[in-house]
Symmetry: C2
Subunit: 333 residues, 2 copies
Amino acid sequence: MTFFRTDIAQKILGGCEYRPVERFEASASVNIALCKYWGKRDSQLNLPVNDSLSVALPGKGTRTRVTRLLGGTKDEVFLNERLTQETESFYRRVVDHLDLFRRDAGDYFRVDTVNSVATAAGLASSASGFAALTRAMAGVQGVSLDDDALSILARLGSGSACRSMYDGFVRWYKGGREDGMDSFAKPLRNVWRCLRLGVLTLNAAVKKTSSREGMAHTVETASLYNAWPLQAERDIVALEQAVTTQNFEQLGATAEHNAMAMHATMMASWPPLLYWVPESVAVMQKVWQLREDGVPVYFTMDAGPNVKLLFESRVEHVIRQVFSDVEVIQLFS
Amino acid sequence: MTFFRTDIAQKILGGCEYRPVERFEASASVNIALCKYWGKRDSQLNLPVNDSLSVALPGKGTRTRVTRLLGGTKDEVFLNERLTQETESFYRRVVDHLDLFRRDAGDYFRVDTVNSVATAAGLASSASGFAALTRAMAGVQGVSLDDDALSILARLGSGSACRSMYDGFVRWYKGGREDGMDSFAKPLRNVWRCLRLGVLTLNAAVKKTSSREGMAHTVETASLYNAWPLQAERDIVALEQAVTTQNFEQLGATAEHNAMAMHATMMASWPPLLYWVPESVAVMQKVWQLREDGVPVYFTMDAGPNVKLLFESRVEHVIRQVFSDVEVIQLFS
């Protein structure tokens, strides 16, 4: 049986009481996956092939305000204070998401969304964007939903958005149901105060190939992709254990290995998909040199050229020395 | 049953008549694999997991002279006119190879080997080296061996050396026997006059990790490696077809895809193995841009940072314009 996104929204919202308000504002943080979401078993519902695990970046993300348009004839979508056009894919994706929450065909909304990170540059702005939009829409419609339901609705907008419903470490359970009602995120609750993430923005330009396209291309054409789900399954176990025991080496090594394996599946696709710029390689070599010199630092990379360093506060001064333009984020306060 | 290299040499040379001469000189060309040799099923005998296919680089390679030492007490090995020490791995590997051909324990030899390419920089000097040494040793011992036997003996020194026994396109059949007596190379005989290979030497320094070590590390630790043999099997078929029909796009695309998949398995190993330098990525991006602009050019890369371009003579002027320091090699004359 094939399910459409609207079927799932109906399952979740069908029995809800609506208590509409005029305006609602919500925010969500971007998240960086330590075990990546890479490959869909259902591209309509954004159901993943494997579980993933992320950590939220506090203070980096999206703030979204939804305002009910009285007597409107269409939705208005503002991205970073710019009115987007109906022909833009961003507009289209937002309106598709509004459709999930719309009760009457005549309900129109104005969406004001502001990102504190570069859009579509591999910094996961779509995750925080759809998480914030989901919260804002639930709020403006006045529907009372539990956390799992909200996480599922966010997932329908952008897979990794289901993880951006929470702060801290978050695991997205892939689930097994065809309708995806068991595919949502849960927070891990563990706090790791000395953990740091260093963002190296090597290139903030819009990517030539979106993560969504890259993922589909890889699954379709990379023979090496077959081995990915098994690796992800092993990495998830190692990461949860590392978080529980606060074993930094295990956390860093597993995250870096996972990221490299994901990029490996991309470059083994045809035509090859390489999100790296030359500086990405230079940064990696520097990280490996630091480790050889005894500094415990690892990296992860999403579907983009930028590199995110993982380290603990005690080596922050070394990291700042070697990477003068690094932006250091304290993950737990 | 486990076979040692000396067992195999005994099988081949055991029944031979020896007609020793004082001195013998031989040469062999390096070869560039279009479908890579990556992974061993037997590391003692250099038996590969998959068939591979290469093309020889005429004029690039090794010239080796073997001279019988009368009244000597040990072998003397000169690499590019420098006497190597017994503690060097190069000396050790050469002497191990001489052992295969030695009839009496008191037989010692002087080996003079000269490479026309940088040693151990990913330009396959060990392939041409062991191919030339095999021919020279067979010559100085005066044993008459058929081509398959010579190819097997070369393989015992360095896997890809079995391909350097021939010019042009060469396929190494992996074979299935435990003793490797069916694992040798055969030439394809097809001639492709307008085919060009462009060598971009980005870094001629000795590699930190040899191909031999890299291969073993990848097979042991990369979960993605499991998918490699199947890809290689498909690529071999596509390459032979491309050579037969002189379909350049098919040749180039298959070779590039194969190289990227090999590098992908390396970077998915742990710790990650990345032979690239930042300039490697810059060159790849340039090649992909050229293709987008309608110039048919592809690349391959071995276990090193250097990039080898594949193109036909009609676009040579464009290639020379974009890559001013490229060394263009005509593969067939």
